[in-house]
């Protein structure tokens, strides 16, 4: 029984590669193929929006994959390919937006919030430390 389950699970992991949209490899060179796969996983499908172009079969996604393949083939750098996409579709097209003026808030807001939370926490704890410790019943007679 156990062996069957394991075999079934093993088959499931195999099938994910069969589900990939491109039936054939984009590049013979493993290094280029790896770059291609990393890029298509980071580009948002502009029509479907919550999917990357690697997983989407929308035609715009396949067109964008084709453009990325073409640019990698032409020897363009990842930076050049990303700016090709951002010029046309804006920062939204990249799942990992670049660090620049317009996206600054996106990048630093989480850190600011943590900082603010930490500051608030310290203040509350400090304040509580100054309160007298009372073990006995309070004015209402309740046990704290």
């Amino acid at each position: 029984m156990m062996a069957r389950i394991i075999a079934a699970l093993a088959f499931m992991t195999l099938s994910t590669s069969a589900l990939a949209i491109d039936s054939e490899q984009a590049f013979d060179d493993p290094e280029l193929q790896a770059r291609y796969e990393k890029l298509v996983a980071e580009v948002r499908c502009v029509t479907c929006q919550n999917q990357n172009i690697k997983d989407s079969n929308a035609f715009i996604a396949s067109d964008l994959r084709r453009e990325i393949r073409r640019m990698i083939g032409e020897g363009k750098s990842n930076e050049e390919i990303k700016s090709f996409l951002v010029t046309r579709y804006g920062d939204f097209v990249l799942y990992r937006p670049r660090f620049e003026g317009k996206t600054l808030a996106l990048w630093i807001a989480p850190f600011l919030l943590v900082l603010f939370g930490g500051f608030a926490l310290v203040r509350v704890v400090r304040h509580r430390m100054t309160l007298p410790i009372e073990d006995g019943p309070d004015a209402n007679g309740d046990i704290r």
Partner: protein
């Protein structure tokens, strides 16, 4: 009292941001070309592959560029309005026929009427990508210098036209 002041101020700042966020349509992508020259392109026309339609055709007039295709339901919906607009001679309408099939596109225009001064045939979708198109129909308003003034996504109708385009065109022709 004081201990409530800070959270209250924080909430008062956050609520308007949320209200703004709820009102905007997250599926709508702003065009990257507003205020910039329309992307360079040159396409064979749908009607005659020997002729071309390019940026040059757009210069010297206020015009519309409509991205359409026969596979696009919204394009069929808005077509009667585009016909009406074309007949009224308000503004020349150019088109990019996006990722389509030539015979199908030609028969679409034959059946429903041709609202376009010229339709570029973008068979592989390259020019659509250059324009930042993410779904048809899309309608761009182009000024006399060939600069993109506005982009509207989705099927147009009389009400939307009067709301979104008429004031902008009046501004351009002032």
């Amino acid at each position: 009292m004081n201990r409530f002041l800070l959270p209250l101020v924080a909430v008062l700042i956050i609520i308007p941001i949320f209200i703004l966020g709820l009102q905007s349509d997250p599926s709508e992508l702003p065009s990257q070309y507003i205020g910039k020259p329309a992307p360079e392109f040159s396409l064979p026309t749908l009607a005659d592959p020997a002729k071309t339609f390019s940026n040059e055709d757009l210069k010297g007039q206020v015009s519309l560029v409509n991205i359409w295709a026969t596979w696009c339901g919204g394009c069929r919906t808005e077509h009667p309005f585009l016909m009406e607009l074309a007949r009224s001679n308000t503004i020349p309408i150019y088109a990019i026929n996006w990722r389509d099939n030539r015979p199908a596109a030609l028969s679409f225009l034959e059946q429903l009427g041709n609202a376009y001064v010229a339709s570029g045939f973008d068979e592989d979708g390259r020019v659509g990508i250059d324009w930042g198109a993410y779904g048809a129909p899309e309608t761009f308003l182009i000024n006399e210098e060939g600069t993109v003034v506005y982009r509207f996504t989705g099927p147009l109708n009389r009400t939307l036209w009067e709301q979104e385009f008429v004031p902008r065109i009046a501004e351009l022709k002032k």
